[in-house]
């Protein structure tokens, strides 16, 4: 049994099939990229795994446990963390407090939670902004806070939704480094939706491609860019020609 197995997921939004019969498996310690045009059903797939949507049919298994139809907080407790493409810009809590909420997932003690949170923040070099409110920070840092928050729940599998979007190349470089470090040092399996091909190519060990709600390809990055279906649906003929 694989670490995360997704079998025949179907999700239908009133006639609009967002996910159609998608299956794949992820092994522990991998970094998997999920690509596809906007609206191809990537986020829906994430939501089906994490539990914001209940798939119409199909099965999700995580560490040999059937988690189909789990609520998001249940999948989180089972060990799946996630970040959001758009971070809600709120004014209610500081960065440290945000991350502490993540650590509270695994402890009831405030001091422990605070310690953990500070540790994570230090790890991501965010100590300097710990007392700021999220709306006071630039987007790149906001994303990092989202990541820190998810990391504080100590996930075994971390699902990242366009973590690099809106970042400039240097910032992307940093994120790639960070993800690799998380994967190797903390043994966190990473599953990322990404839009920026450059980043996907660099970081992922394997890539899954969705188009129009269906999985059209899966494989090594180098193979994917040569895959005809992918070229047609996503990269474009000209991309392939330019290759």
């Amino acid at each position: 049994m694989s670490f995360l197995t997704v079998e025949n997921i179907v999700k239908d939004f009133g006639g609009l099939v967002a996910n159609n019969n998608i299956s794949f498996a992820i092994e522990e310690g991998e970094i998997i990229g999920l690509i596809g045009p906007n609206g191809a059903g990537k986020t829906t797939l994430f939501n089906c795994i994490v539990g914001y949507h209940r798939p119409d049919s199909g099965k999700v298994t995580f560490r040999e446990k059937d988690i189909t139809g789990f609520k998001p907080f249940e999948t989180n407790r089972a060990g799946i963390g996630r970040t959001f493409q758009i971070m809600k810009v709120t004014t209610g809590m500081t960065v440290l407090e945000n991350v502490m909420v993540g650590s509270f997932c695994r402890t009831n003690d405030r001091n422990t939670a605070r310690g953990e949170a500070l540790h994570v923040l230090g790890d991501l070099a965010l100590d300097a902004v710990k007392d700021y409110y999220i709306n006071e920070l630039p987007i790149a840092i906001q994303r990092k806070v989202g990541l820190a928050r998810a990391l504080a729940t100590k996930p075994a599998l971390l699902m990242l939704d366009e973590v690099a979007s809106g970042l400039n190349p240097t910032e992307i470089e940093e994120v790639v480094e960070l993800l690799r470090r998380l994967n190797s040092a903390k043994k966190i399996t990473l599953f990322l939706i990404e839009h920026i091909m450059e980043m996907v190519m660099k970081v992922s060990q394997r890539v899954i491609v969705l188009d129009y709600g269906e999985k059209i390809a899966e494989g090594l990055p180098a193979d994917i860019v040569k895959n005809e279906n992918v070229i047609k649906a996503y990269l474009g003929e000209k991309y392939a020609q330019g290759l």
């Binding site: 006639g15 609009l16 906007n38 006071e136 979007s165 809106g166 450059e198 474009g236």
Partner: protein, 234 residues
């Protein structure tokens, strides 16, 4: 026709657009490309008056329009077709289009526009009595563009019209944009299909983290190294 000069836009205190300048001339199709979060939609919304500048000016014709409210800007001839389409779900296709013509008082003109939209997107004509919310994604996009055309805009701003559409529809949509350009409409387009849209465009601008970093004709940009690297994965 439209001249955006060194504007800065803040969103709850944080600058999203730092320094953007842009010119659209009569009859041109201009494409703005850039990564997600680079500020493309923000730029269009600012021109449309939904957001306000904290620095810089926006001229439309001879008039400064920054600071005007959206309805006022629409009345001056700029119509924005939003990224999320924002169809009035429970209303029928035709009602949606009628609301699009809210500022047009001339019934004949309205009728003409309606015919033109149905001519451009025959599929909408087939579904005129159907509630907008029940259309497919592509049809909703057609409806959104059609609704934008109903107000007779001098400048039409399209925010990612191919978003979330299957490849065939993307081509169809961009084809429609080309047709509009052929009919002499002035269009400001924001697209994620960098290659196709730049090929279509008279000129293009590249935004990065709220700044215009490059501008030029479509082909010039397509052959720029950094564009190829960042957007085309080359």
């Amino acid at each position: 026709m439209l001249k955006v000069s060194e504007i800065e836009v803040r969103y709850s205190g944080i600058p999203i657009i730092h320094n953007v300048s842009l010119v659209v001339n009569d009859g041109e199709l201009i494409t703005v490309v850039g990564a997600n979060g680079a500020g493309k939609s923000t730029l269009l919304k600012t021109i449309a008056g939904a957001l306000h500048t904290s620095k810089g000016t926006i001229h439309f014709g001879n008039e400064e329009i920054q600071g005007l409210s959206t309805p006022e800007i629409v009345r001056r001839g700029i119509t924005y077709v939003p990224e999320a389409r924002l169809i009035f779900g429970p209303l029928t296709v035709e009602e949606n289009l009628e609301i699009g013509a809210y500022i047009v008082n001339d019934a004949a003109q309205k009728k003409n526009n309606l015919d033109y939209v149905y001519h451009l997107f025959p599929r909408l004509a087939d579904r005129k009595k159907q509630p907008g919310g029940t259309l497919s994604g592509g049809e909703q996009q057609m409806l959104a563009i059609g609704r934008g055309l109903m107000s007779n805009p001098k400048l039409l701003m399209l925010d990612e019209p191919s978003l979330g559409l299957m490849p065939k529809l993307v081509d169809e949509m961009l084809g429609a944009v080309a047709k509009l350009r052929g009919a002499g409409k002035t269009i400001l387009l924001v697209e994620q299909n960098v290659r196709e849209s730049l090929e279509l465009a008279d000129r293009g601008y590249v935004l990065q983290t709220g700044r215009t970093i490059l501008e030029g004709t479509g082909n010039e940009l397509l052959n720029t190294e950094s564009i190829r690297k960042a957007f085309l994965g080359l």
